[in-house]
Structures are given as structure tokens and as C-alpha cells.
């Protein structure tokens, strides 16, 4: 479909800074490590889980890797929150990533459009409701994973202050939320940035930092922002 690097340089629009590109790459890496070492523990009876864990050097090593990635993920998440809060407050950064009532309207509008009940798709802001949905689910879900993960890693500390039942409950939340995020990323985010007809085979803007002008126009027309 689109190939920004082959188009005129002037038609490319800077969409992501180098910081965001590195942040996203780090997130991909940690997501893969956490999902591989975590979900293989959740679905421990599956052959592939056994293979992964044995290949990583056994269950103890797998858990060490998961904890290591979890610490890095925690750092990544909190620096993200810190940087953005500081940016919004002191640098007057664009707050277009925050959820608004319009996003709900856009969602309803888009379903109507898909069903042929509206002429045009919803015209979103800088980020569409779909992008916001996945962003906030990963961010809030990530924070929840950090909290429940802490409980599971340090059950003795947790039960000093909380009832014992929090441990198995945290396990239910941690493992199910992990699966939820995994499916969300696996089904929607991958579809949206790879298999969606508008961007197929890959929307490279988060890796290059640039989006093609026509790409953004098209995304706006179809009620969808790329990136």
C-alpha cells in the first residue's frame, strides 16, 4: 500500500520522537519476554510451555527472567507516567491521548458507519478511540500487573498487611489480565498495525518516526489514525 520512504521526503510527517520509538521497542522486548515466561507458567501443561521453560533453563531460571523483565517493565511504565505527567503539566504537551466523551461517540458512530448507517467514519483527533483503548488498557493493565505481580513475588510481605486470600486472587487477576493483554495485542494491535488493509504489510511509523501525509489523510477519512 503505502511506502513513505519511496515518496517525496516533504510528504512525510514526523509523528513519533526517537524517545517514543525506543520506548516502544523496549515495550515490545519486555512484552515478549514477559508473555513467553509468564504465559508458559500459566499454561504449564501445554507442550509448548514445557519446551519454552526447559529451553530457558528450567522453571527457576524462567521465573528469574520473568522477575528481571518485570523490574524493567516497572521502570519503563513509571518513567512513562512520570515523563508524561511532567510534560503535560510543565511543557503543556498535547493531551490528545486522554480519553474524552467524544471517544465513546466516535465508537458508536463508527459502528453505525460500518453497518452502512452513516456516510463517513468518525473523524478522530490525533489518536483514534481504538488507539486510546489499547493504550489505556496496556497502561492500566500494566500497572495492575505490576501490583499483582508484586503480591505474587512477595507473598510474605503482602500478607503482613493484607489477608491471605489476596495471593490467590492476585494470581487469578495477574494471569487472566496477562491473557487479556496478550489477546488484545495479539488480535487487535497486530491487526491494526500489520494486517489492516490500509497498512498491510506493516505500519512502520512507530519504527521510523514518520508517517506519510496521504496515510494520515486516509486514516482520518476512514476514522482511523495510524501509528
Amino acid at each position: 500500500m503505502m511506502s513513505p520512504e519511496m515518496s517525496d521526503e516533504r510528504e512525510n510527517i514526523r509523528r513519533f520522537s526517537v524517545y517514543r520509538i525506543i520506548e516502544h521497542l523496549a515495550l515490545i522486548l519486555l512484552f515478549v519476554v514477559l508473555a513467553a515466561t509468564g504465559l508458559s507458567q500459566k499454561f504449564y501443561t501445554l507442550g509448548i510451555s514445557q519446551s519454552i521453560i526447559l529451553a530457558l533453563g528450567g522453571i527457576d531460571t524462567t521465573r528469574v527472567l520473568h522477575h528481571l523483565a518485570a523490574v524493567l517493565f516497572t521502570v519503563l511504565t513509571f518513567q512513562h507516567i512520570l515523563v508524561n505527567v511532567i510534560g503535560i503539566i510543565f511543557e503543556q504537551w498535547d493531551t490528545s491521548m486522554l480519553v474524552s466523551f467524544k471517544d465513546a461517540q466516535d465508537a458508536v458512530h463508527n459502528v453505525r458507519y460500518y453497518l452502512g448507517m452513516a456516510e463517513q467514519p468518525a473523524r478522530g483527533g490525533r489518536y483514534s478511540y481504538k488507539e486510546k483503548f489499547i493504550y489505556w488498557l496496556i497502561l492500566l493493565g500494566g500497572i495492575q500487573q505490576i501490583l499483582t505481580g508484586f503480591i505474587l513475588w512477595f507473598p510474605v510481605v503482602t500478607t503482613k498487611y493484607l489477608p491471605g486470600q489476596f495471593i490467590p486472587a492476585a494470581k487469578v487477576v495477574h494471569t487472566n489480565e496477562a491473557m487479556l493483554i496478550f489477546l488484545l495485542v495479539g488480535i487487535w494491535h497486530i491487526y491494526d498495525s500489520m494486517f489492516s488493509p490500509e497498512v498491510f504489510p506493516l505500519n512502520k511509523s512507530i519504527f521510523t518516526g514518520y508517517a506519510h501525509k496521504s496515510q494520515i489523510e486516509q486514516a482520518n477519512n476512514s476514522g482511523k489514525h495510524t501509528g
Partner: protein, 477 residues
């Protein structure tokens, strides 16, 4: 060799006059005047010779001691001492042997298969000499003329009565065989020398052992000859390992199974426990108080485990080894996953499943897989809690019997063994083998239900969006 003696005893007709006193001394004395002296020989033309010496003492002990010399040596009298000519020693012996048949009728002799066979050989021209087997003047008296029908009977002539063997250590051991025990044992059809090899009617080797223990250890080696499978299993066990480092008190075959009263112990559940108690009396006392031991000892319950159901009988592992420890969930599940057995006592069969699905169970499962993986990466940092860590081993009690809450209070102590500083809340992290429900674990239950509804809703929603998106895209084109 045994046969020889049996033949000797059989060959003695009941009508013979032995045992009725010493023969006419006068005649025998006259003969022994010369024949009682060493040095005189009878020569044969082929250069061979035979001593004419007769040991008066041997003769006096023989079954023929009441006979006069001339009863067998018929050609000789006081006055007559013919100088007979023989081609060789064999011919002499054949001739002399024929004299036996004057008293021992051929038909009677033939009643024994071996004699019949010999007579057949004789008919075919072979030389048959009675004294080859029975000897001549030394034909001995066996048990007052009773006939030994079997090897066992032969051995029991001495071993049925109280006799002792002495060891270098000064210990003594009764070698009396309790016949009734032997008859009831599974070995009732096994001959004495099948086990006590080297011993026979002719051979009774004199063995000197340092101690009774050493003697018993040597006896256990006998069992290997037939029960090699069990022996090799036992050789993998901890008792054998103890023996091999010189701890001679470790039990071998006969210590558990007995000797002449040998038994497999398999179905004798009370017997098994008593056997182990011999050495492990402290464990027994604890076990007897437990839910398993109590049921066995008080009601002879067939469902509860005895020692060997958990420890196995021959290849007994070191109970303190991680290898043994990690097989414990499997060991307990043999009964606790069995719905038929558990149903009788209203116990849940979910216990093993819930354990295996939790942190400790999953980890143990992986440890075992890592071990089986064979890449020697198996080095667990610390032991994982298994069934016995919470429930106890030999002192295992019924949780419903003492109450779940009381049990949980004692649980904290057990948790503390690995989880230092564990608070009293900590044991509640384990929701007691129950599936979470609103009453027993509301927090867990609600979380589970939330995701149960959310997960499919979200996936269906996402897929629906994708479907609509593609559909609209195609329509627009």
C-alpha cells in the same frame, strides 16, 4: 550323595538282626586278631592290592555290628581260610557283593528305582558292586533303621531338636528348624539343600562366622539365586546402601521375610507394619496415632497405607532425599485420587489436582521434567512443599477431624520453615484444596467470574470490529 545314604537305609531289611547286641565276640575276635592289624594286603595278579585291615571301631558302629564275620564271608570258618584267586580287585568286589543278596532279596531291593536301574545294567553285563555305594564294614546305622523319605526328613533328624551353633564372637544360635513353620511356608516344596547349598547327607561343611549378624547376612545371599528381581530391587534401596557402607544392622531378606517361616508379607498388612517396627519403633509409635495408622491398627482398615505403600518394600529410597520428596504427591494420589476409596470416607479427590495446579505443585512438576530432560540442569534452590509438609508424614491427621481452622493455625509453623517471617495471614493464601466459591474465597471467586465474562466478551468484540472493518473496506472498494 544324599541318595547313597537313602539307599543305605532302604537297603536294610527289617528282618535283619542288627541292633540286637554285639555278635559272637569270640569268632570276630579271632578274625580281628589278624585283620585288626595294619600292614597285611591281598594281592591281585594285575599288581593291584587291597588292605585286609578291618577297623574294629567302625565295624562296631555299623549296622552289621551284630553279624559275625562269617555271616558275610561265608567261605571262611574257624578252620577254613581259603586262598581265593581273583583276576583283579573288581572281580573280588563283585564276588563279595553277591553275598549281600543272601539277606537282601533282589525283589526287595528292586523296589527302589536306583536299584532297579542297577540291576538292569547288571543284566546288560555291567559290574554292579554294592559296596561302591554302601561301603563294606562301615555300613552305618541311620536313625535306628527309620527310612528317610526325603532330604528334609534326613536333615530334620538332627535339626528338629534343639542344637546350637557358636560364633567366634561367642554368640550362639539355635539351629533347630520348626517343622510346622516350614510346612506352612511357601517354600514347603523346596529342599533343604536348595537353600543351604553345599550341605548334603554326605557333606556338612563346618562354617565359622564372626558373629550371628554376619551369618544372617550370608544367608540372605542365598535368596538371590531364585529371587534375583527382588534382590536387585533391594540393591537399589537404602538398606542395601547402608550395608554397603558397613552398617550391618540394616535388614536383608531374611530379617523381614523370615527364614524357614518365610512369607511374602504382601497381604499381611499388620505384619508389614510390625516388621518395620522392629527397627523403626519410634516412627511406628507416631504412625499408630495417625489417621492412617490408627485405622490400620484399630480396625484393620484395608484402605489406609502401610509403611511399604509409601516407602515401597525393596527399592526403598532415602526418605530425606529430594528424589523421594518429589514423588510424594504421586504417592499420595495413588489413593487420594481414587474416587472409590475416597468416596467411602467422604474425601474429595480434588486434593491432588488443586495441589498440582498451584505454585508448589507446578514447580515440583517442572523439577521432575527437568530431571527427566536429562540435561543435568536439575538443581532446585530449595525443597518445594509437598503434601507431607502441611499434613505431616507419619503423624498425618484428618483435617476434618481437627477442624480446618485449627489446622490452619498449626499450618503457620509449617509455612515458616521455608517462608521466614510468614505472618498468621500467610497460610490463608492457600485456599485449602477447595475450588474457589463465594463463601470460601469471595475475592478469588469474584476475580475469576469477572474474567470469565470479560475475556470472551472482549475477544468477540475485537473480532467483530475487525470483521466490520474489513467488510466496510471491501464494500467501499
Amino acid at each position: 550323595m544324599i541318595g547313597v545314604v537313602l539307599i543305605v537305609s532302604l537297603a536294610l531289611p527289617a528282618s535283619s538282626s542288627y541292633g540286637q547286641g554285639i555278635a559272637d565276640d569270640q569268632e570276630n575276635k579271632r578274625c580281628l586278631k589278624c585283620h585288626g592289624e595294619h600292614g597285611s594286603v591281598k594281592k591281585f595278579p594285575d599288581g593291584d592290592f587291597i588292605s585286609t585291615y578291618v577297623d574294629a571301631n567302625t565295624l562296631a558302629l555299623s549296622v552289621h555290628r551284630s553279624l559275625q564275620c562269617t555271616a558275610c564271608h561265608k567261605e571262611f570258618t574257624d578252620q577254613r581260610h581259603p586262598d581265593r584267586a581273583f583276576r583283579n580287585k573288581l572281580q573280588f568286589r563283585i564276588k563279595e557283593s553277591h553275598g549281600c543278596r543272601d539277606c537282601h532279596a533282589v525283589e526287595t531291593l528292586k523296589s527302589r528305582a536306583i536299584h532297579e536301574a542297577l540291576f538292569k545294567k547288571e543284566g546288560a553285563g555291567e559290574a554292579v558292586v554294592c559296596t561302591n555305594c554302601h561301603s563294606a564294614h562301615a555300613v552305618t546305622h541311620i536313625a535306628g533303621g527309620n527310612v528317610s523319605k526325603s532330604e528334609e526328613q534326613y536333615c530334620l533328624r538332627c535339626h528338629a531338636s534343639e542344637k546350637h551353633m557358636t560364633f567366634k564372637s561367642g554368640e550362639t544360635l539355635s539351629v533347630r528348624v520348626k517343622v510346622a513353620e516350614l510346612r506352612e511356608s511357601p517354600h514347603k516344596n523346596v529342599g533343604c539343600s536348595d537353600c543351604h547349598f553345599g550341605f548334603s547327607a554326605d557333606d556338612h561343611p563346618r562354617m565359622r562366622f564372626r558373629s550371628e549378624r554376619q551369618y544372617r547376612l550370608s544367608l540372605s545371599e542365598i535368596c538371590r539365586r531364585c529371587h534375583y528381581d527382588m534382590y536387585s530391587k533391594a540393591s537399589e534401596g537404602i538398606h542395601y546402601a547402608m550395608l554397603s557402607v558397613g552398617k550391618l544392622e540394616a535388614p536383608t531378606c531374611i530379617d523381614c521375610h523370615g527364614g524357614h517361616a518365610v512369607s511374602s508379607l504382601g497381604s499381611n498388612r499388620l505384619g508389614i507394619v510390625q516388621k518395620c517396627k522392629t527397627c523403626h519403633s519410634k516412627v511406628y509409635e507416631v504412625y499408630a496415632q495417625s489417621v492412617h495408622g490408627g485405622a490400620l491398627l484399630k480396625e484393620n482398615n484395608k484402605d489406609v497405607p502401610t509403611c511399604i505403600d509409601c516407602h515401597t518394600s525393596h527399592s526403598i529410597k532415602d526418605a530425606s532425599s529430594s528424589d523421594f520428596r518429589e514423588t510424594l504427591p504421586g504417592t499420595c494420589s495413588k489413593c487420594h485420587s481414587n474416587e472409590t476409596i475416597m468416596g467411602k470416607y467422604g474425601l474429595s479427590t480434588d486434593v491432588v489436582k488443586t495441589y498440582l495446579a498451584d505454585f508448589h505443585g507446578v514447580t515440583i512438576g517442572f523439577y521432575r521434567n527437568e530431571q527427566n530432560d536429562g540435561q543435568k540442569r536439575y538443581q532446585p534452590d530449595r525443597p518445594m512443599a509437598v503434601c507431607t509438609d502441611c499434613h505431616g508424614t507419619h503423624d498425618i491427621a484428618s483435617v476434618s477431624g481437627i477442624g480446618v481452622q485449627t489446622f490452619k493455625k498449626t499450618l503457620q509453623k509449617r509455612c515458616l520453615q521455608c517462608h521466614s517471617n510468614a505472618s498468621e495471614n500467610f497460610p490463608d493464601a492457600w485456599i485449602s484444596h477447595y475450588k474457589p466459591s463465594f463463601t470460601n474465597a469471595p475475592l478469588v471467586f469474584i476475580a475469576e467470574q469477572f474474567f470469565r465474562i470479560m475475556m470472551p466478551l472482549m475477544v468477540i468484540g475485537l473480532l467483530f470490529q475487525i470483521f466490520l472493518h474489513i467488510w466496510r473496506y471491501l464494500v467501499n472498494r
